[in-house]
Subunit: 223 residues, 2 copies
């Protein structure tokens, strides 16, 4: 399934119709891609197919052929090639046109790339590990919970000085942080009431992209 | 410390001299950045400063100011701004000119981005978790070891059909996989003798970038 184009031909927009997005409604990683698609005005490009994660459908062979990692979401293009990994999928969408979620110039791109990873590693990824290991590896789960709480304090500090995670513009790093709130919502985890963090969250929930996604998945926005 | 340039001005090459690279010789993540710098012919741009990870120097406040995550490596630019996260640092270097390690066109960039993440998540990252948790959370460590072994089998399959991880060209995804061999070497972990995987490793070790890095850190190349 893995192929790299040998020439430098750019993707053509008309090759992009009928992208299938293997999906799981209102979950941290698929939601990030939905929100990015709404931000770009490109949501119509995808047709979603829900994969029943809770019944282990993502671990079946047909799905592993599309994504070895068994994670959701995944794009499948007309020719059968697949693209997984949330960050890579959002980078892909972002290259289709403005407004940019991944940065205009080298320094912007680098800061957004770095901060998206920090939100993933320090908060969202650690949060997933906490959730997954709470029963079987409670000691490890506890270290991950501490990491999440520290990470939330860290971004609260950033958001006290910046309007968004990477400065004065909404980017893919903000979308990653929304993912953490979505996971908290799913597992009824109380996100600490850090002032700048919640001010940011209330503000980003006013964005049409996030409003639309919450409404489409029948979820309540914060009051 | 976090700033995003508001305009679209590109970085100028002459702003890039005297980059300090906080470093840890022959370790999986810093080595990836060294190898990328050698591949690009840009190793002279950086002046390394070793941070004593084993004495916890990376957890001291002065270092956390440069990188909240406490991970190595980190670039520090002339103006004091810092860039961490190995993938983001290599993307940054890669934007300075050809040959590309991150792809020419959208599909290449997406596949390389995706596969770099898969090598990180399924192999190198899981390997680090295995190593870190072996004593305190042995049950969790065991799941991570299984993940690493499965991941190595997965890339062996890819390398049976492709010369490199992403097809016919050496990319950042290959460098990430070299990171896993470097960790294996550090902790005396025997990498399973999958044929295509070892053929690939022997071949990439012939590259001047990797040869130079191994020699500079007094490490032996595979025989």
């Amino acid at each position: 399934m893995l192929r790299v184009a040998a020439d430098k031909t750019e993707f053509k927009y008309d090759q992009l119709d009928k992208i299938i997005m293997y999906d799981l409604a209102f979950s941290p990683y698929p939601s990030r891609v939905h929100i990015a698609l709404y931000e770009k005005g490109l949501h119509d490009l995808v047709e979603t197919k829900t994969v029943d994660f809770f019944k282990g459908e993502n671990k079946q062979e047909w799905f592993k052929q599309k994504n070895y990692s068994t994670s959701l979401p995944v794009f499948e293009f007309k020719d059968g090639s697949c693209l997984s990994e949330t960050i890579s999928m959002i980078e892909f969408i972002d290259r289709l046109g403005e407004p940019t979620l991944t940065g205009f110039n080298m320094m912007e791109q680098s800061v957004i790339s770095m901060m998206t990873r920090k939100v993933e590693n320090e908060i969202l990824g650690a949060f997933v590990q906490y959730f997954r290991n709470a029963q079987e590896n409670p000691q490890f789960a506890e270290t991950q919970k501490t990491k999440v709480l520290d990470g939330l304090k860290y971004v609260d500090g950033i958001l006290s000085a910046n309007e968004y995670v990477c400065g004065d513009r909404f980017t893919q790093a903000d979308i990653a942080l929304v993912g953490a709130f979505i996971l908290a919502d799913m597992i009824k985890f109380e996100v600490p009431k850090h002032q700048a963090l919640w001010k940011w969250y209330t503000k980003v929930c006013e964005r049409p992209s996030i409003k639309t996604h919450y409404q489409a998945t029948n979820k309540q926005l914060p009051q």
